[in-house]
């Protein structure tokens, strides 16, 4: 999956002054991306947040050239998405895009056939396809002997979603983009998806870009957070740096992780939590030291 070209310090994706407008010239004209500059490093786990209509989905659809900028350029692994048409196939192998509710796109009569569909279209030979199907199912934690020959429609909601993920993983992308990957899953399902993504990022060195409304998830898995509002990049930094802007995020109609909500409620009652606790462990330590400071 990785080549010599990849170096964790080099950008794998670059947006240069990217504009995108929906329904240009009509009464419904909407600026979806407004002169976006962005550089994403290889191996990053990027979280994208912003309320509905902020441009999140539009932005990620530029990465695999589903959308092309009206102005500006998007360069992915050295390929400019709007000019180098002959390289688009290559690009789409590099970038795996998992839409919202991807299980709605399952269609084959068996799990194995569904996962094989993408690689088959690439013209890959049967032996390699079989290897990829095995590997993809293993990655998502499904037993090929148990579910491989079943219809995807017989599986539970969480299993179906994992089959859909496996279909994208079988393309062996370097960059994996997911739009609300945990939406609609139960707590156990959400946890499993997040652990899978963490593994793909740390063990398989995949660059992962995840859109989510769940700030606790973003704080838990991401190395960087991008905040979008009306097509503008408002913040782009580590989770700690981003989530300390409680007021700004609230103003944008965004949630913050639980720990920061609690810290804010405590601040309003006169107890100041200085650091930016993102996990319950960090919050616990902050509370204990606040208590000790008071007693000292």
């Amino acid at each position: 999956m990785s080549t010599n070209l990849e170096n964790t310090s080099l950008p794998i994706i670059e947006f240069n002054k990217v504009n995108y407008i929906y329904m240009e010239g009509s009464p419904f004209e909407t600026v979806a991306l407004n002169s976006v500059d962005l550089s994403i490093k290889s191996g990053e786990f990027l979280g994208i947040i912003g309320h509905t209509g902020s441009g999140k989905t539009t932005l990620v659809q530029h990465i695999n050239a589903l959308l092309k900028p009206k102005n500006g350029t998007v360069v992915v692994k050295g390929v400019e998405t709007s000019t180098e048409k002959s390289k688009l196939n290559e690009l789409r192998k590099t970038v795996g895009l998992v839409f919202q509710y991807p299980e709605y796109q399952l269609f084959e009569e068996s799990v194995i056939k569904d996962i094989s569909y993408g690689p088959k279209n690439l013209g890959i030979d049967d032996e390699e396809i079989s290897r990829r199907v095995h590997s993809a199912l293993e990655h998502v934690g499904l037993d090929i002997d148990e579910v491989g020959h079943k219809s995807p429609f017989e599986l539970s909601g969480g299993q179906k979603r994992r089959v859909a993920f496996a279909g994208v993983l079988a393309m062996e992308p370097d960059i994996l983009i997911l739009d609300e990957p945990t939406a609609g899953l139960d707590p156990q399902g959400r946890k499993e998806v997040l652990e899978l993504l963490k593994r793909l990022n740390s063990q398989d060195n995949m660059t992962i870009i995840m859109i989510s409304h769940y700030m606790d998830e973003i704080a838990y898995v991401c190395s960087k957070v991008l905040v979008l509002d009306s097509g503008d990049v408002v913040m782009y930094d580590t989770p700690k740096e981003v989530f300390k802007h409680y007021d700004k995020l609230t103003e944008l109609g965004l949630d913050v992780p639980y720990t920061l909500k609690l810290a804010e409620q405590m601040r309003q009652r006169g107890v100041i939590i200085d650091n930016v606790p993102l996990t319950l462990d960090e919050m616990y330590n902050e509370i204990v030291s606040a208590k000790e400071a008071k007693n000292a």
Binding site: G53, G158, I287
Partner: protein
């Protein structure tokens, strides 16, 4: 208080693709009083939706009986009365909207009841008011956000003037803002003395109910006040349910000599914490 929904030893079985039977409700008994706000939680496959669909006779028990306002759901002659008194709001708003204009969509159910035109108009106006969607009445539903669409779906249910409203994971597909919109409406309807049955995976939502019922494998494993349910961390973890973060944190803080009693909401948690440190 008067009972409005009663389950009396209800059993229900599905037959799956392989032809084997799966018991979705197992000898389940339940009594919901008029005006109660009951949350139902449980992992996927615990029987929550099956239970919900029994309340308005979308499903009928294999054994036992379900009574709504004292009428048995299996009684064909009462089925329309039952369906009028129990409204359902489902998970995906897109699957519940039938018309191309918001107000026409809301009128759809009421029109099917054969009500006079003036009455339909009155009900549509009232329902739009309740869900605060008046200014969108002439819009196309597909131009609305998820939360707004779900509010339209709720208004359509309200136009039937039901006594009981069942929300079957109606917030699962919404963003935090949309979830809050739906939750606010559920609370408003409850304070308006309607009976609310709220199925959800989100414990912050269940926390706002009067009573929580925990389902597992078609059986009720716990039934009580939110705080009593949440404090049973072991049970919630065993069933792969979310333990509210305040409860987890409060539990850990015991080690540091900080004892918190009331941590149902984040405000209560902050209040008590600040008094102790």
């Amino acid at each position: 208080m008067k009972s409005i929904v009663q389950f009396d030893n209800v059993t229900f079985e599905y037959v799956n693709h392989e032809g084997t039977k799966k018991r979705a409700l197992n000898n389940l008994s339940l009594d919901i009083k008029e005006g109660e706000f009951v949350a139902i939680v449980g992992s996927n496959g615990s029987g929550k939706s099956t239970l919900a669909k029994h309340i308005n006779a979308l499903l009928l028990p294999k054994d036992g009986k379900v009574l709504v306002n004292g009428y048995e759901t299996e009684d064909d002659s009462r089925i329309w009365e039952i369906r009028k008194s129990v409204g359902m709001v489902f998970q995906n708003p897109d699957n519940q909207i039938v018309a191309t204009i918001v107000e026409e969509d809301i009128a759809f159910g009421a029109e099917n009841l054969g009500l006079p035109r003036e009455e339909i108009i009155k009900r549509v106006d009232n329902s739009l008011e309740l869900v605060e969607m008046n200014k969108y009445r002439n819009k196309a539903p597909h131009m609305l956000s998820g939360g707004q669409k779900q509010r339209v779906a709720i208004a359509g249910v309200l136009a039937l003037e039901p006594q009981v409203i069942v929300f079957d994971e109606s917030t699962a597909m919404l963003d935090p803002k949309g979830r809050k919109e739906v939750m606010d409406i559920a609370q408003k309807l409850h304070s308006d003395n309607r009976t609310i049955v709220f199925i959800t995976h989100f414990m912050e939502e269940a926390a706002l109910a009067d009573r929580i019922i925990v389902l597992n494998e078609g059986e009720i494993v716990k039934d009580g006040k939110p705080i009593d349910i949440f404090n049973d961390i072991k049970l919630l973890e065993e069933l792969s349910l979310d333990v509210p973060k305040s409860i987890l944190l409060a539990n850990r803080l015991k080690n540091a000599g900080i004892r918190l009693e009331n941590v149902l909401t984040i405000e209560d948690m902050a209040e008590e914490l600040c008094q102790q440190i």
